[in-house]
Symmetry: C2
Subunit: 190 residues, 2 copies
DNA sequence: CACAACGTTCAGAAAAACTTGAAAGTAGTG
DNA sequence: CACTACTTTCAAGTTTTTCTGAACGTTGTG
């Protein structure tokens, strides 16, 4: 498989990954395509490279800018805009996590906090189990929330990772992963 | 808002959450509906409760069983099957994470490991940036992988959470979250 | 064995999500 | 200001995903 084929597969993979972080495949594909190139590209190049319509490219780039995943720069003396991918992976993860948290987790927590007292006020016994489950859920979401919050505010990914990796009890047949782990930790903290 | 209305909103919320963990809304809705009840239910009740077709209920329940989120139990002396939601949140999270990891992350890692050496073998200089990005990505995915692996194999959620919460540097204006955190930690380790 | 009571399957309908392309907007230029 | 070179928008079309329902399979019963 040569470089061109790898690039193509990579873009395909990245496109299909879109669902995972909540954007349409084309949008994710544009980001992947940008990542696979060493230079920024303008809309026409993206159109040509991915066989997309002008409109699709425009919308994908807008979305990517909104996620903080690409930067746009105007070429002086022209209306052309060059798009470059943000390639700091940590920043990418942070942006995605932050936006999804706001969009998805925060509303959940709000709902739970509103529902639980109302359910508890209702004396019907068949609600007890439901209320209890909601309470457990609230606790878990709050916990997850504070972990994510801490990640967003502060520590680096590798920091976070190392804490977890080294701080927890060992000796459960983990040897196989040690090599990968060290490589990962070293590379993630450049 | 009375209990019935809360139940309804909860099911709606849970349905919309389906995308988040990778199942169709109806499937997620069935799980939410089961969670909102204190007793197991059979297919007919689910059909009636959610206005779904027989087929949809059957498929949703199969899927939920495959994810390890509901248990099925036959009523003795009848063909009827009662479905009960697994309500151990930690188990739920673990199952979802495990399945998604297998389906989505593992293939990514395999691809990266295959592509990187091939790209490095290609002398064309415009591949250097791409290769470098793939390496960074590999490192991050491997790190994430080992964290997830550890979570799947071992520590409890609250364990994991506490390690992170208490082990990392403090003093960045975190006071506001302390209350929520303690409640969460206490409730998650019953 | 035949019938009743359920569960399962899957081709096709319905709905949702995505993309296109043509029209409209805007910045540079002579 | 008129013209060109771009980008943005959005209604309509296309593709993908999800749901339905009728036909089929199984288990229990008399």
């Amino acid at each position: 498989m040569d470089a061109a084929a790898i690039r193509e597969s990579f873009v395909r993979l990245w496109s299909s990954l879109g669902t995972f972080w909540g954007v349409p495949p084309t949008t994710a594909g544009v980001f992947g395509w940008l990542l696979s190139r060493s230079e920024p590209a303008d809309a026409q190049e993206i159109m040509a490279g991915l066989e997309l319509s002008r409109g699709a490219v425009s919308m994908a780039c807008r979305e990517l800018r909104a996620w903080g995943l690409v930067t746009a720069q105007r070429v002086p003396g022209s209306r052309r805009i060059l798009y470059a991918p943000v390639d700091d992976l940590e920043k990418i993860v942070r942006n995605v996590v932050q936006i999804r948290k706001r969009r998805e987790w925060d509303p959940i927590l709000e709902n739970l906090r509103e529902w639980i007292p109302e359910l508890e006020a209702d004396p019907a016994p068949e609600n007890a189990v439901f209320a209890e489950r909601l309470r457990a859920m609230e606790a878990l979401v709050e916990l997850a929330d504070s972990i994510v919050e801490r990640f967003l505010k502060g520590g680096t990914v590798s920091n976070l990772g190392l804490k977890l990796l080294l701080g927890t009890s060992r000796g459960r047949g983990e040897k196989a992963r040690d090599a990968a782990r060290s490589r990962a930790a070293a590379a993630a903290e450049p």
